[in-house]
């Protein structure tokens, strides 16, 4: 077997190229109806024209700002509430049932409610992304603090550390790992907010554009937008990974170094 084929990345790219080529050929010879599944070249053309005509930027900006704002606010809110609940039993009593409920339902069903409360502009999209992210992060922090390794707690207490020291040198670092583990999932959660919000009601944004594409039965535009969102989420995944590796360098570093 060719040694290039033993490389996972090479095999994956090759599989994608093969799939796309087969799709292209089947669409061109008419086996697949281009009305439902346009050829990849057609989808690419539509996406490029969106960028060349410049109509896409306004929508991209709306979705990106909403997703990023939702991610940042959701992270902050989730971390704050998680710590509050883990440290103050009264807060936990109040918050835990609400969070469990919010966690149990598909949170995107709140989209219409936020549109009624906050209007069709960006704030309702941010609110939805915040709720999607905050609930996830809340549980990461809350469970992270509750499950802190008792050995470390005993260790620091016998060194003379009190509650504040414990929080700083044990709880916060343990929770960092939990939050970072959820960060990539959180990135994936931040995008549905503005997108689904856009389906419900919006003057602009990728969700609005998707809704428009669907109502005009424009499969090429629909697929193009889906791939576009995939691409952006992948870029954000990569950023999250970089942040994770840097903050958890004590775990990643030295994995390639020989331990003597």
């Amino acid at each position: 077997m060719n040694r290039y084929l033993e490389n996972v990345a090479v095999r994956r790219v090759l599989a994608m190229v093969l799939l796309a080529s087969a799709w292209e050929v089947l669409a061109r010879i008419g086996v697949i109806n281009p009305f439902y599944a346009p050829a990849p070249s057609e989808i690419l053309r539509v996406v490029f024209s969106l960028f060349i005509e410049g109509t896409i930027y306004n929508h991209l900006e709306a979705t990106f700002v909403a997703a990023l704002a939702g991610l940042v606010i959701g992270l902050a809110l989730g971390i704050f509430l998680g710590f509050a609940a883990a440290l103050v039993p009264l807060v936990a009593d109040v918050l835990e049932p609400i969070m469990l409920l919010l966690n149990a339902i598909p949170r995107v069903i709140l989209a219409p409610l936020f549109v009624i409360w906050l209007g069709i502009e960006i704030s309702s999209k941010i609110a939805l992304a915040v709720v999607l992210v905050a609930v996830l992060i809340f549980f990461a922090v809350y469970n992270g603090i509750k499950d802190v390794n008792q050995l470390f707690v005993d260790r620091v207490r016998t060194l003379g550390g009190g509650a504040v020291v414990l929080l700083r040198v044990v709880s916060v670092p343990s929770v960092t790992a939990w939050v970072l583990a959820s960060l990539k999932v959180a990135v994936g959660f931040a995008f549905p907010g503005p997108c689904v919000g856009g389906f419900v009601a919006a003057p602009r944004g990728l969700g609005y554009l998707l809704q428009f594409a669907q109502s005009t039965y424009n499969a090429a535009l629909t697929m193009g937008l889906i791939f576009l969102i995939m691409g952006f989420v992948l870029v954000l995944f990569f950023c999250a990974e970089v942040v994770e590796r840097w903050l958890l360098r004590s775990r990643y570093r030295g994995t390639d170094r020989r331990v003597t």
Partner: protein, 252 residues
């Protein structure tokens, strides 16, 4: 240095230990041995303040700052380097960062880990992690060392070496030690006094033994001392008796 009076520890109906009296005189090395489940660790945890006793008294000559607790698990914080782990206790005692870190480096060097300060715990071997844990405790200059089977997880060679080094340090600095172990030979080679606990629950002290072997001690030479073998046999027989007795009681 330490006097434990009528100590009872445990939750629920039956205490783990009950009516335990023991004493660690200044500069003495004292061991607690006994069957597993006899509450040896509970005694150490009560002395260190990690566990609130049911009843009884713990008199410590000096503040809790004079205690050093060496755990069975090295329990180093994985997100801190060796240097930061050793400096942690010093930082908690309000030493400035710079001073704490240079002090930590000095202790690491003293334990043969000079140049390893930047390593994270997972980049060190089991023996090296144990040395970092020892440095972390000794850096606080404790007067009384509490040790809970600290070397159980190490292989025999490393274990012997670290035990000997720690023993030398304890003898030189005249530290008091309360060691929990299930290894009778280890207890006799290092200790001045050995206490034998009965099988729990309601474990109590069955007997104490004075180990008349001169100091400074060498781990291998101590085993060849004429007092060693008879004492080990007595201790072994008493411990077997304690365990059999408990089994008979359980059967009835």
């Amino acid at each position: 240095m330490l006097r434990v009076r009528d100590l009872a520890v445990g939750y629920g109906a039956e205490p783990v230990i009950e009516g335990v009296n023991l004493e660690v005189a200044p500069g003495k090395f004292v061991s607690l041995v006994g069957p597993s489940g006899s509450g040896k660790t509970s005694i150490l945890r009560a002395v260190s303040g990690l566990l609130t006793p049911r009843s009884g008294g713990i008199e410590l000559n000096g503040s809790s700052d004079s205690l050093g607790f060496l755990f069975q698990d090295d329990a180093l914080l994985p997100w801190r380097t060796a240097r930061e782990n050793v400096a942690l206790g010093l930082r908690i005692r309000k030493l400035p960062t710079k001073a704490a870190e240079s002090e930590a480096d000095a202790w690491l060097a003293r334990l043969g880990l000079g140049g390893f300060g930047e390593r994270f715990p997972h980049e060190l071997s089991g023996g090296q992690r144990k040395r970092v844990a020892i440095a972390q405790i000794l850096a606080l200059k404790p007067k009384l060392l509490l040790m809970d089977e600290p070397f159980a997880s190490l292989d025999a060679i490393v274990r012997t070496r670290i035990t000997q080094e720690l023993l030398n340090w304890v003898e030189r600095e005249h530290l008091s030690v309360l060691l929990v172990t299930h290894d009778l030979e280890e207890a006799l080679t290092v200790s001045d006094t050995v206490y034998l606990l009965s099988q729990g629950p309601r474990a109590r002290i069955l007997a104490s033994y004075n180990v008349a072997i001169p100091r400074p001690r060498d781990i291998f030479a101590s085993r060849k001392h004429p007092n060693f073998a008879p004492l080990l046999e007595r201790l072994w027989n008493d411990m077997s008796g304690a365990m059999n007795g408990a089994e008979f009681e359980a059967q009835r």
